[in-house]
């Protein structure tokens, strides 16, 4: 499916289709539908991951065209799974959703120490830092990272949002995050909200 999605996007682009329309009217709608089916237990994680990978692959031939049109990005998001945590499912889904919504996403991968987040903030001046954790044992690294950002003097330069299976709004408030999303599909409205 991911390979087919890329081929389909290339065909549309070759035929002169509007890349922005393709992303906004079709790809984002498809991801939203995948998210809806996940919420209603029709889709599970494998389906969501395939949808996200298909989206990512389909964006490849489209991205240069969007850049050529000087289409302004919705914002820049640095994202990573926190230190000690190798889980990336949620993060990968969020990356797909954000890219589809027009955000520039810098994916730092998994097991990202606070220093790496801080270094990237200084180098890339993102609008948002998004952190993911899947385990209750690695959640504390979110607070550690936020505290490190404060110490490094970069906390006020970004909005910090968090997510992951054990994360709650209460936890986000406790550690001083600016926002929390319970699902990948909530990432885009959250990103837009914290930037407004």
């Amino acid at each position: 499916m991911p390979r087919l999605a890329k081929a389909a996007a290339e065909r549309v682009v070759s035929a002169g289709g509007d890349p922005l329309k393709l992303v906004q009217d079709f790809m984002m709608s498809a991801m939203a539908e995948a998210g809806r089916r996940f919420e209603s237990n029709e889709y599970f994680v494998p389906e969501l991951l395939l949808a996200a990978r298909a989206m990512k692959n389909a964006l490849e031939p489209i991205r240069p065209l969007l850049a050529a049109k000087s289409t302004q990005t919705a914002g820049c998001v640095v994202i990573g799974t926190v230190a000690g945590d190798l889980h990336d499912i949620g993060k990968n889904l969020v990356v797909a959703m954000l890219e589809g919504a027009g955000f520039e996403v810098l994916d730092l991968g998994v097991n990202v120490p606070p220093e790496k987040f801080i270094q990237t903030i200084k180098e890339k001046t993102p609008n948002i830092v998004a952190m993911s954790a899947l385990l209750t044992t690695t959640m504390p690294a979110m607070k550690t990272t936020i505290d490190a950002m404060k110490q490094a003097g970069v906390r006020d330069q970004v909005r910090v949002v968090i997510g992951g299976a054990p994360i709650t709004q209460k936890y986000a408030d406790e550690i001083g995050a600016d926002g929390y999303a319970g699902t990948a599909s909530g990432a885009v409205p959250l990103a837009k909200r914290v930037m407004s």
Binding site: V45, H87, I89
Partner: protein
């Protein structure tokens, strides 16, 4: 567990109601080292510190059933280490193992490890061999062979995203991976039973089950779990604290008779979905209540669970999942007190 606790567990599995209701917890490196005031690396690397931490737990809470009991572990590194994974042990954070499979093509070359010699497994057994006389002096015995489940190990080796996509894009290699892992795990559990004849239970932990729908579980989970639980032991214990609604109906068919869930599905619904054929070890919210709540919050949550249970049979009071970091002695005591009522 002591002989009395073990016999009581068997009674609960038979459907008998014990008064007061039993309380059990899975305790391991996320909770124990911090509770004892020691660093995780010391807990994992020092057999004496590991033993003293477990001893302190059973002496502080003698009425609790700690499962599996004196768990000799290296966190998430244990099984992946046998496959040659690079294991990372931060000083006071939880260890993790890096992937060994970078692409699906590599699965064909994967060899079945030897649990007698490979990775950290010999050290796990050595720790328990050393501790066994002291464990038995305390009146406890080694009762369970323990491992992560095959889906969990597959995601450790390959990455969760990559494995969960591979079951759709490359099902044959995914099955081959699960075959190698299952053969290894069978040998690993057999070796534990051979080394400690007091073992009469098996525990596997596998949260990846909760990420799949029913169709995927039937194809990629059920046959392998069925093989692994097809052993001649009295207690067949499974932990999955990710969603279980799509898979729990199969647990009894697999042979599982004791289940530690997460909190996504209510006790009532779990009982209904499983035909009430499982003993449930749960189901107070671990982080929000047991770790972050006050002792009164804990008592209230236990009371609420008891009210929901109505039928107290086939229930061992616990939190959903294992005991999380930060749970205080006071909250554990509050839990145990509430269970007495």
């Amino acid at each position: 567990m002591t002989d009395r606790q073990w016999n009581d567990l068997l009674a609960v599995l038979r459907g008998e109601v014990l008064r007061p209701l039993p309380v059990g917890f899975i305790i391991d490196c996320p909770w124990l080292p911090g509770w004892c005031g020691m660093e995780v690396a010391d807990y994992l690397s020092s057999e004496t510190l590991w033993f003293e931490a477990n001893r302190k737990a059973i002496e502080t809470f003698p009425e609790a059933w700690f499962l599996p009991g004196f768990w000799s572990e290296f966190g998430m590194c244990t099984e992946p280490s046998a496959f040659g994974a690079r294991c990372v042990f931060p000083r006071n954070e939880f260890p993790f193992a890096e992937k060994v499979i970078a692409s699906v093509d590599q699965i064909a070359e994967l060899k079945t490890p030897n649990p007698r010699t490979d990775g950290l497994l010999p050290f796990m057994l050595n720790r328990l061999r050393w501790a066994r006389p002291q464990i038995e002096e305390l009146g406890h015995k080694i009762r369970f062979s323990v491992s992560r489940g095959p889906l969990n190990v597959a995601t450790f080796l390959m990455g969760a995203t990559e494995f969960l996509m591979a079951i759709r894009t490359d099902p044959e290699p995914a099955h081959r991976l699960l075959r190698v892992i299952t053969d290894f795990l069978k040998q690993w559990h057999a070796l534990q039973r051979e080394t400690f004849p007091t073992i009469d239970g098996i525990l596997m932990l596998d949260d990846i089950v909760g990420f799949m729908g029913e169709k995927d579980f039937i194809e990629f989970g059920l046959p392998y779990f069925r093989e692994l639980y097809d052993v001649n032991v009295a207690v067949k214990f499974f932990h999955n604290d990710a969603p279980c609604a799509k898979s729990i109906k199969f647990y009894s068919e697999i042979g599982i008779n004791l289940y530690n869930p997460g909190i996504q599905t209510s006790l009532t619904e779990m009982r209904q979905l499983s035909g009430n054929r499982l003993v449930i070890l749960g189901n107070v919210p671990p982080r929000d209540v047991l770790a972050q709540g006050t002792p009164d919050d804990v008592r209230a949550a236990v009371k609420k669970l008891l009210a929901e249970a109505k039928d107290p049979s086939r229930l061992i009071l616990s939190c959903g999942g294992g005991v999380p970091p930060g749970v205080t002695t006071e909250n554990m005591r509050a839990f145990l007190e509430a269970a007495q009522l």
